[in-house]
Amino acid sequence: MKGEEGSPDRANDDIGEVRRLEMYRMQVLIRLFEERVQGLYLENLITGTTHLMIGQEAVSAGTSAAMRDGDLMFCTYRGHGHVLARGAPADKVLGEIMGRDNGLMRGKAGSMHLTSVEHGVMGSFAVIGSHLVLACGAAWRARYKGQDDVTVCVYGDGASNIGAFHEALNLAALWKLPVVFLCENNLYQEYSRIAEMSAVEHPSADRAGSYGLERIVIDGNDADVVFRAVSAAIETARSGGGPAIIEAMTYRQSGHSRADPAKYRPAGELDLWKERDPLKLYKARLRELGIEDDRIAEVEAQSRDAVNEATEACKLAPLSSPDLIMSNLWADGSCAWRN
């Protein structure tokens, strides 16, 4: 693991204090947001399925910090945190999850499909594998048009075993596309341990060689590590050096989806990972670097306020409109299929 670069040095290193506080704020925001989503589900205010990323916040925060405006992201159904990290307002994200009119897609599609083109989030995809090849296409367009944006495609360990993974990686490498494949290895594909489902230990990184790419495994619970690894990959991609595949080791502290009690965890595993909780680690890092407690408390409060405000706004927002079902199938806004 390329873990060492993440060890604290000084606040004014390549990352810098401002960015660190921002990455911490984002991790706290995502954590509180996800806890709120679970709470609203229990209150029956969220009805569709949700896939939380509690425990994986550092990947979101570090990745988006490494991206520029204009860079594109493709997410999975486990995408709340990435969409927030890219800058989509918490109320619009929560509204979408709650099926409210104020949602990103006016509440039409819900948690699994969060999309905010405005913030470079081209979609959250729920049929495993599809978005890996979509990301190739977005990157191909950038090169074709001489645009210098880079596409980041986030996916799970389990997705590394589906056919589209192979096709995407081969094409990306062959065409030297400006795309970064970022595997969030949270040890589980739904309820099964990825270790029991893959022929190799690291289902993504151990396959980098199949496409002539470098093998990169990183500590996904350390936002600094993620930031540095993704930054480097994006830099290479942006300058024409082709794609990268990064496997970030992390852990989903929540269940797979909202109703999963996660009984399949071996005893002690969750506790172990909670000790390596990304927020806890990062807060300690900030302190170690000499950042004052009140500045830390300030960004925590900002995040708390944002989630609370979003919740209030969404509770007041009307349910998504019935008009939605008959609109925006075609470019003309209609859904007519005959004359």
Partner: protein, 326 residues
């Protein structure tokens, strides 16, 4: 007689067949240790062990392909595709392989397997987890397609599917997993290709599958109570083979027919039924055959929108009433 949920009936049917025949094996994502994401295979691993119940990687082509390879050479696999919509990532086996192999090899190669999938909507999973994939499967010669609506039918048709020497797509309705029904004790084996008249009637025929069956039954009660319309309700149960005899006989008695489909309008299974009836029972019909379907749009996620897309009891009642009044 036991009261079982639909999901328990799936597990009971699988267990019945695995106990009977050592060649029956179960594979799919999270079907073993977790007992299925819909808990429809709960207890199978415990009872039959990891040799016969296998969790797989997220590799749907490998799931269906290895099921077929095993079926070609002597096993009788029951493969699960978690949500029917995902069959799109391994559709080659549906469209090009399962049903064609015996035919193309002039009978040399067999393919006795069952693919179970969670089908249909009604549980707020949205446009890519709620589709009615009977419409993606029934058009391929050589493939049987079954879609039970009650726990008893689940057990009996699943057993029939497993014992069938040809490939069978077995569609479990997500919206029905939690429903209960009486299931007779002992071994149950039903017959593929047989529709069931669940409610005899004289004024019109409603033909449905899956979750549209209970809704059609409720609609029939309401039609009777509120409008004196006596609707016959047929649970198609099997889309391939098709029990056209039962359908045509019913239309011969009622002279009006409605298909009740939860899929988007275009090229749902109702089109096939209507085209058969319009051709073969044309002079029996007193009025147009009508398809009650979802509008031709994807399914939206939130329950209040989903409910507007999938035909409700009220929409069925209204469509029948209006058409008979016209």
């Amino acid at each position: 007689m036991a009261q079982l949920t639909y999901r328990e009936a799936v597990a009971r049917g699988i267990a019945q067949e695995m106990a009977r025949d050592e060649d029956v094996v179960l594979l799919g994502e999270d079907v073993a240790k977790a007992g299925g994401v819909f808990k429809a295979t709960d207890g199978i691993l415990e009872r039959f062990g990891p040799r016969r119940a296998l969790d797989t990687p997220i590799s749907e082509q490998a799931i269906l392909g290895s099921a077929m390879g095993a079926a070609m050479t002597g096993l009788k696999p029951i493969a699960e595709i978690m949500f029917g919509d995902f069959v799109a990532v391994c559709y080659d086996f549906i469209a090009n392989e399962f049903g064609k192999t015996r035919y193309m090899t002039d009978g040399q190669v067999k393919c006795p397997l069952v693919v179970r999938m969670a089908n249909g909507g009604g549980v707020a999973f949205g446009a890519q987890h709620s589709q009615s994939v009977e419409n993606w499967c029934m058009q391929f010669p050589g493939l049987k397609v079954v879609a039970p609506s009650s726990p008893a039918d689940v057990v009996g048709l699943l057993a029939a599917a497993v014992r069938d020497p040809d490939p069978v797509i077995f569609l479990e309705h997500k919206g029905l997993y939690g429903t209960r029904g009486e299931v007779p004790d002992g071994e149950i084996v039903d017959t593929l290709g047989t529709a069931k008249i669940l409610r005899p009637g004289t004024d019109c025929t409603l033909i449905a599958v899956g979750m549209m069956v209970p809704r059609s039954l409720a609609a029939a009660e309401q039609l009777k109570a509120d409008f004196g319309i006596d609707a016959e309700v047929i649970d198609l149960r099997s889309l391939m083979p098709l029990d056209t005899r039962t359908l045509l006989a019913s239309v011969g008695r009622t002279h009006r027919v409605f298909t009740v489909e939860e899929n988007p309008r275009v090229l749902g299974w109702g089109a096939e039924i209507v085209s058969i009836i319009a051709d073969e029972a044309f002079f029996d019909l007193d009025g147009p055959p009508v398809r009650i379907t979802a509008p031709h749009v994807p399914i939206s996620t939130p329950p209040h929108l989903e409910a507007l897309v999938i035909p409700s009891v009220e929409r069925i009642v209204e469509a029948v009433r209006q058409s008979l009044a016209a």
